[in-house]
Amino acid sequence: MSLAAFPFLAFFLALGAALVVVLDAVARAALAGAPAGPYLAGTFRHAAMRLSGQLVTTEAPDRANWRLAPAWYGALAAAGLAVVPFGEGMALIQLPTSIVLWGAVEALVVVVVFLHGWSPNAPFPLIGAYRYVATGLPVMLPSMFVLIGAALPARSLDVLAIVESQREMWNVVRQPLGLPLFLIVGLSLTLRGPMDYADSADLAGGSSAEDSGPARAMWQAARLAMLVAFSAMAATVFLGGYLGPLLPGPLWLALKTALVLELMVAATHLLPRMPVSRMVTFLWVVLLPVSFLHLLAAGLVAL
């Protein structure tokens, strides 16, 4: 695909991020029993203030990594979105192994979040970074099982082929456990709600506790971008991506992405976050066997 795809991807990311902001405000207001209007108006004012704010730094930080971490995170979101096809044969990065590329993006997110927490040279961000590695790495395993499971009916590691394999039946029907498992992976990738081990409330913001001004705004924006990229990927792998009657493919993808975004926002605001040791036990003892069974079932169905 041509370079003309870049502005389109940027537009998609921006639109998705704006939608998440609105959904977050609405969900929060609804749960808190307050009108959503002031929340929303405040968010944008808030962001503008952040961008004009001052960058404050800590003692002896790893400045390069600290400043670059949000950029890396955003770049990974863009790379992840680039393998998502917007129509038949319309993906920016076309590889016979594009689903593995998405896996590499997931693995690199762990690295980037660790760097973001490690580089300020302060206790709370560092604890956030440790915790994220402890939960982020075990989450990779269910993620791989789920993605391989989705690749089985397509008999290909190419995301394009995975979409095409869903013409008859979406993977969410064929592999009912896949989407919920993948959503857990997404919550971890985007540091949200029940899987927010890097930027958690008990650490006063964890890996971003020392961020100020534009750096903080950038990090939050990158998290939103990753959320959009993840949702587009989930919609592609489990909800048939661009497939759908009447409407053009990109629009279908956008609608399905919005649906996944809503699920993610709901999970963020409705589910509690376990202490990290409990979560690690849960990941290894429950989630890993479940995802393995899921892969087994997906394989049997695909045969």
Partner: protein, 236 residues
Amino acid sequence: MTDALFTGLSALALYAGWRVFRVDSMVRASFWLMISFIAVGGIGLLLSAPYIGVATVFMMAVEMTVMVLFMVMFMMNPAGLNPMMMVHQHRFSIGVGVVAFAGMTAATLLTDLPSNPVAAGKAIVHDLGIELLGDSMLIFETAGVTLLATMVAAVILSARTGRFGDAVEGSVPPGLEPGGTPAGRVPEKSGGHHHGHGGHDHGSHGDGRSDHAHHHEGDGHDSGGHDHAGDKEKHA
């Protein structure tokens, strides 16, 4: 285009590989190593090996994250606050490195290399899959079982409790007869037990053990241990 990309990625792979042994922080060192691997993965893509190339990136990201955790846990100076140059037989090592490079390069240039490039349009990933679960299944499965065995062995080795008691106590196998001397070699009393790194002088200039931690020790009460440090930067 391909040549330019290849040159760039090669330069990155070599530069990053060199930086691994030149930066002051072990965390940075492992991430430089990761960058070197990612660059090689990129070259793999150029060499029309889409699976191996991407899988290298994936695997190395995970592997280096684990490595970094070990760095922060054990090693002196993970934050790079003190200069780090801990080497022995330095000149000899440089010599070996240079000789190895020169030898291999000479061999490469002097040999008449065969040429039989990958045909365009070959179903590479498909072929690999057929190979892995066909003719070479035994090799592939052996690799898998080896990995599993390694995992089990790694957990046993690094866990505190061993077959013959706690690792910290020094594991001693039971005697051949009840109450007799332990079977096998009797381990020496741990002569190397000097706490931390205190007793060593490695002859290198100014290595110090430090990490994030000491930056917060003795910090006064403040919200979340955010220290005063920021002010210094602001008002300097």
